[in-house]
């Protein structure tokens, strides 16, 4: 089959690889109809994960048709249309029982590696380096889906692929980012990052009752999408204002936003010295992540507020504002999204017309154009927000 393979820094190729097989009894094989490129794929593309191996198949947002099921799968049959969540979860361990699916204790065969780097093992993830198990990803024609009786969500007719594809990752992630804020009536929410996850966080914050949602980014086309499609009430272009902190204070009568969402993560950017500092430290391998958005969110947040972190980080950061955190009673909530928890409720919201996930799509192309998709997505060319690949 054809699959998008990581061949090195900023290098992906669509290559011929063997078809997937059933390896465990609770596996299913899915023929992929639609898949997408994620912002976190860009961290792999840009060479920030040292556990990538040349030839790794990428992709963790995919859906399609069940082709084959292992003996242990009772709830799916051949022909079922499914969306597959990106965390691989067994359903039997204590973490899965507590619905913390991205903390599954059994699904990562390379648990020792993630334990070394992160303190404890994390779940397996499709197409996301050997740190998360070395599973082949879903930017391909077929994929092997472990624990198919736990993860995949069955979709009935009446939805296009584009309407439900993002239940695999970015829609639940944005939603969880907003949910972790514990939004109260009257809350002002600030969202750093108007990428697809940021847009879904903005929309979710609105649905969960925020009075105002402020989007922060530097690309005018993304800020437009935040306002026109996702429902942001205010936007800040951080390259056009002197200080994001001051602007946020102006917008909130000096208080600062009640809750802040970091939908940017480790490849943050800013004009000026902070970026130069972090970028240099990264190049010298003295710092693995650039926490620019995170620092700003903590400093900007209203005292006693919550900073919700859904942007992906992988290692260690420098100059963390611990003083601000402690002295001003800031709560940080974070996590890789426990997608399985949110898929059904969010499908309901889509059905009722409360969210239109297709609002983030700007580019659709065939699977064999994946390298081009990565390039324009990475460089934010051609007003690119989200690339969908059709297999």
């Amino acid at each position: 089959m054809k699959a998008t393979c990581w061949m090195g820094k900023k290098k992906v190729e669509v290559r011929d690889v063997p078809d997937p097989q059933i390896l465990n009894q609770r596996d299913a094989i899915v023929r992929i109809t639609s898949t997408a490129i994620c912002g976190s794929d860009l961290h792999l593309y840009n060479g920030f994960n040292p556990t990538m191996e040349r030839g790794d198949i990428l992709g963790h947002e995919f859906m399609g048709e069940v082709m084959e099921v292992g003996r242990g799968v009772k709830n799916l049959k051949v022909g079922d249309r499914v969306v597959v969540p990106f965390p691989i979860a067994c359903g039997n361990c204590n973490a899965c029982k507590a619905e913390a699916y991205s903390l599954c204790e059994n699904s990562n065969p390379n648990a020792w590696l993630s334990e070394k780097m992160l303190g404890h093992p994390v779940c397996g993830i499709f197409g996301y380096s050997h740190l998360t198990g070395g599973y082949a990803g879903g930017q391909a024609e077929f994929a092997r889906v472990p624990f198919a009786d736990v993860g995949p969500l069955k979709i009935e007719n009446g939805f296009t692929d584009e309407q439900v594809l993002f239940l695999s990752d970015i829609l639940p992630t944005g939603y969880m980012g907003a949910e972790m804020c514990d939004i109260q009536a009257g809350d002002v929410i600030a969202v750093w990052g108007a990428g697809p996850v940021g847009l879904f966080a903005i929309k979710s914050a609105q649905l969960l009752g925020a009075e105002r949602v402020i989007a922060i980014d530097r690309f005018p086309y993304r800020l437009d999408m935040a306002r026109d499609r996702a429902g942001a009430t205010d936007v800040i272009n951080y390259e056009e204002v002197d200080s994001v902190l001051e602007t946020l204070k102006e917008l909130t009568g000096g208080r600062g936003p009640d809750k802040c969402i970091d939908a940017v993560g480790m490849e943050a950017h800013s004009p000026g010295l902070q970026y130069a500092y972090d970028r240099t430290k990264q190049a010298m391998m003295l710092e693995s992540d650039r926490p620019i958005a995170l620092r700003e969110a903590i400093m900007a947040c209203r005292s006693g507020g919550t900073v919700s972190v859904i942007g992906v980080y992988s290692g260690f950061i420098d100059k963390f504002p611990a003083g601000a955190l402690m002295n001003r009673s800031i709560t940080i909530k974070s996590g890789q999204c426990h997608v399985q928890r949110y898929m059904k409720p969010l499908l309901e919201r889509i059905r009722r017309g409360e969210i239109d996930p297709t609002m983030v799509i700007t580019h659709t192309m065939p699977l064999h154009d994946a390298p081009k998709g990565y390039d324009i997505f990475n460089r934010k060319q051609d007003n690119c927000e989200k690339v969908v690949l059709k297999a």
Partner: protein, 377 residues
């Protein structure tokens, strides 16, 4: 769930099992060992010397880093760029050893690392002597000095290793929590023939009757290891203890304890394993270099044990099927034979794909499909 009456968490009370069979293993090989007091005294002397050697390492390392040319000249080697680079590298190694010795609570391993470093230094000095440069006198003096320091390092390492908990062997303690009741967890472990399912280095275990079993394992560098073991204590749902019988390839003993996990989270499995590595401590260090690290292996084995008990099988990813690093792609060869004895929902991939293609034609605008041989209605 699995809470047994009267069980206290004895995982951290050595020798409290009360069995004269010596399930814990320590002191079992009591012949010829120094008394408790003598061991402590020896250790304290070792520690003083170790501290001095630690500071010596740091001082030397700093000199090598900041004045590499000078140090190279001092030992009679040339002053060139290559030697300076090498000297700086050696300096970093010295500083690392020094920090290890001074900061770690169990510095014995770092002291052995110093010994290894001294061997390396002697080799380098030997090469310098053979290379025929002018300062032979200095090099000879440096070699004598390193020999002296090496002797001190070795002595200190010996002292530090004695009196520690792991006398001559390796000791591994690891635990994991399994979300199953103690009866199930104990029962699975108790049937020793299950163990190779999750213990990667075990080839097979055979019960040979009356609390005895025969074990075969893969050793480092492709060797094969065999031994007989006897179960020294067996408390259902609580504890299993075993030890190898005389004449084993590798002396070993261990105990696995099952205790209820707090909050009804299942069963905690605590493994304690003691064994004498085939080539002694130095052999173990070499094995570590090649990625064979016992506590890591035990942890991975326990993880697979948990997978089997909680999900029914050892969990595979496309890359983890293979030993060593491998691209995350599906395997080329068929991995497991199809089991046709049970009904299975399997579709011939090509047929299903063709059927879907046909239904796509229904939905979207028709595109002429050039014949693929057999046309499907």
């Amino acid at each position: 769930m699995g809470i047994t009456n009267g069980t206290t968490n004895r995982a951290y009370e050595p020798g409290s099992e009360g069995s004269t069979a010596g399930a814990g293993g320590r002191g079992r090989r009591g012949n010829g060992l120094a008394s408790e007091g003598e061991r402590h005294q020896g250790r304290a002397q070792g520690e003083g010397l170790a501290t001095a050697l630690g500071w010596f390492s740091i001082g030397l390392g700093l000199a090598q880093l900041t004045a590499p040319g000078g140090v190279a000249s001092l030992v009679g080697a040339g002053d060139g760029g290559d030697n300076r680079r090498l000297m700086r590298g050696l300096g970093m190694r010295e500083i690392a050893s020094g920090i290890g010795i001074l900061t770690k609570p169990q510095p014995a391993e770092w002291m052995w690392a110093r010994v290894a470093g001294d061997v390396m230094d002697l080799a380098l000095l030997g090469a310098t002597l053979r290379s025929g440069d002018a300062r032979r006198g200095r090099t000879v003096a440096a070699t004598a000095a390193v020999l002296g320091v090496a002797a001190l390092d070795y002595y200190a390492a010996q002292r530090l290793s004695r009196g520690g908990a792991a006398e001559r062997g390796i000791r591994v303690r690891k635990s994991i929590t399994v979300n199953r009741p103690a009866e199930e967890v104990y029962g699975f472990w108790r049937d020793f023939e299950n163990l190779p399912r999750f213990m990667r280095h075990l080839e097979s275990v055979e019960t040979t009757g009356e609390g005895r079993s025969h074990w075969k394992a893969k050793g480092p560098a492709g060797t094969a290891i065999e031994w007989d073991a006897e179960t020294t204590e067996d408390r259902p749902n609580e504890l299993i203890a075993w030890r190898s019988v005389e004449g084993a390839d590798v002396d070993n003993d261990g105990v696995v304890r099952f205790t209820p996990a707090a909050g009804g989270r299942g069963t905690e499995v605590h493994v304690e394993l003691n064994y004498e590595p085939p080539a002694g401590k130095l052999g173990a260090m070499v094995a570590k270099l090649f990625g064979e690290e016992p506590s890591g292996q035990v942890t991975d084995d326990l993880r697979r044990f948990k997978q089997v008990l909680e999900t029914g099988e050892v969990v595979y990813s496309d890359a983890s099927l293979h030993r060593g690093m491998h691209a995350a792609q599906p395997p080329k060869e068929r991995q497991f034979p199809r089991d046709d004895s049970e009904p299975r929902l399997v579709a011939d991939r090509s047929a299903a794909a063709a059927a879907s293609t046909t239904s796509n034609l229904d939905r979207s605008s028709t595109t002429a499909r050039s014949g693929h041989g057999e046309a499907r209605a």
